[in-house]
């Protein structure tokens, strides 16, 4: 009996290390509330650009995809606790995050922007320095745990940051006037502008490129546990092929109306 228990433990332990290889399944942690990157419906189906990237990747690796929906700021802890094999959730590659997990090569890259009411004094600003100065004492919405939050903590320390668990909650507060502006990916903000709630809002005409500051990261990559070097090698190779054959660009056109894929080095 004891031996049985022991062998069961050994089996489970072995299973954990190579869940992906053993079961022919890749479990993917994603936020599920970040359109158009990752949207989960009530039934738990995940759609969006990240879902497409995940599905393309699984097809390339010849495994089955399984999506696990989880709040963004809990994705890295959950990956480290082996709740899933990889993170595909519009996650930017940053130095801080690289201390915790490793990343594939970046597969996409985006500009970061502010959105504000058309009537706001922010709306007419066209250069970076004026914008940062104008943020003093303003209530700025960001999503918890994102590069946007870190960027503003560093570059606009006088702004009153309001952090939200999900983008939806941030958009509700933007629409209700609780916050003066919000900082996020241009894609996520354009999604808001397309909604009825967003009709009185506009993007502030200052694009902040991800490459302009280390806190904004080196593009968007797939998060992988540090010890899982074998999986990282496979994913890097597969992603490179997907970028080069235009599959990722095609998915990007579907969701963003523009090509945000990052060339494979």
């Amino acid at each position: 009996m004891k031996l049985k228990v022991l062998s069961l433990v050994a089996f489970l332990a072995a299973g954990m290390g190579s869940a992906y290889a053993a079961e022919g399944e890749l479990s993917i942690g994603t936020e599920g509330a970040y359109p158009p990157w990752s949207m989960a419906d009530a039934a738990g189906n995940v759609t969006g650009f990240d879902a497409d990237v995940g599905n393309l990747l699984c097809a390339k690796l010849e495994v089955k995809c399984k999506f696990v929906v989880q709040a963004f700021d809990g994705l890295i802890p959950a990956l480290k606790a082996k709740r899933f094999d990889v993170i595909i959730s519009g996650m930017s590659i940053t130095e801080d995050r690289k201390k915790e997990i490793s990343f594939s090569n970046g597969y996409a890259e985006l500009a970061n922007m502010f959105v504000a009411p058309k009537s706001s004094d922010l709306a007419g600003i066209h250069d970076f320095d004026t914008l940062i100065k104008a943020l003093d004492g303003k209530k700025v919405g960001v999503q918890a745990g994102t590069t946007h939050a870190h960027y503003l903590e560093k570059n606009a320390p006088k702004a009153d940051l309001k952090t939200y668990d999900t983008l939806d909650q941030m958009q509700i507060d933007l629409a209700s006037g609780r916050i003066d502006t919000a900082f996020s990916d241009a894609s996520a903000l354009e999604d808001f502008l397309a909604k009825p709630d967003g009709k009185d809002f506009q993007l502030v005409d200052v694009k902040i490129a991800s490459s302009s500051d280390a806190t904004l990261g080196e593009g968007i990559g797939v998060g992988i546990a540090q010890e899982n070097t074998e999986l990282k090698a496979k994913i890097d190779k597969a992603l490179c092929e997907l970028v080069n054959d235009g599959s990722i660009a095609k998915a990007s056109e579907t969701w963003f109306k523009t090509d945000i894929s990052r060339p494979c080095k």
Binding site: D73, I76, A144, H150
Partner: protein, 230 residues
């Protein structure tokens, strides 16, 4: 645990401690008075008043605090008549004020039930004796019913205080930076989840230990007649 990390986390979390104390203090102050009013309404012979108090406590005790917070903050924030009313919007527009309102209304429901139990335990004979001695209704309540009811209700009320302190952690979901809010922010900066939340937990424990001690001291003070007779 790294010393450097603790040096970074503790001052940040202590900033949150002040907000947690504010949330608890104001909501308990408002909630206790509301709860006392509701308990009296519940015991009143007026069927409308007692009915209102009963349904109030059923609704607020029967729904999760988190749901109430979201209803007040995100729900009410979308209604135009709330936005057009200056006073209502003053409360609803700010996460801290909104959290205090939800916590106060929530703890009022529990407090009303606790005080109702205390008031019902006051022997009818004592009240009748006070009446026979010619005390007015208010005087009877102030001198006889309320002091005896509080004595009965205090242990259960101490428990409610602790639950309110812990309930304040939910305010972090509506952008309030109290202990848990700062802990979540530190989590995404340092990823030292164990250390950060262990310190946050210790801070809640300290607040509650202080509260429990104060309630026990008050209890000993109110029960001093029994201590002497033993």
């Amino acid at each position: 645990m790294e010393l450097e990390l603790i040096q970074r986390a503790v001052p940040v979390l202590l900033k949150g401690l002040g907000v947690t104390a504010l949330l608890t203090g104001v909501s308990v102050l408002v909630g206790f008075n509301l709860g006392l009013g509701l308990a009296l309404m519940r015991l009143s012979e007026n069927r409308f008043l007692s009915g209102f108090a009963k349904y109030y406590s059923t609704v607020f005790r029967g729904t999760p605090l988190l749901v109430q917070l979201f209803l007040f903050y995100y729900g009410l924030g979308q209604l135009s008549f709330i936005k057009n009313s200056e006073m209502a919007w003053w409360v609803i527009s700010d996460g801290t004020r909104c959290a205090i309102m939800a916590l106060a209304l929530n703890t009022a429901a529990y407090t009303s039930e606790i005080l109702r139990g205390g008031l019902m335990s006051v022997p009818a004979g004592l009240v009748e004796a006070a009446q026979a001695a010619g005390m007015s209704r208010f005087l009877r309540f102030r001198r006889i019913q309320f002091p005896l009811a509080i004595r009965q209700a205090l242990p259960a009320y101490g428990n409610e205080l602790v639950l309110t302190v812990k309930g304040t952690s939910l305010a972090s979901t509506i952008t309030v930076l109290e202990i848990t809010g700062y802990a979540k922010r530190l989590m995404s900066q340092t990823f030292a989840i164990f250390e950060v939340f262990a310190i946050a937990g210790a801070l809640y424990l300290i607040i509650n230990l202080v509260l429990i001690t104060l309630v026990r001291m008050l209890e000993a003070h109110l029960m001093r007649h029994q201590a002497r007779s033993r």
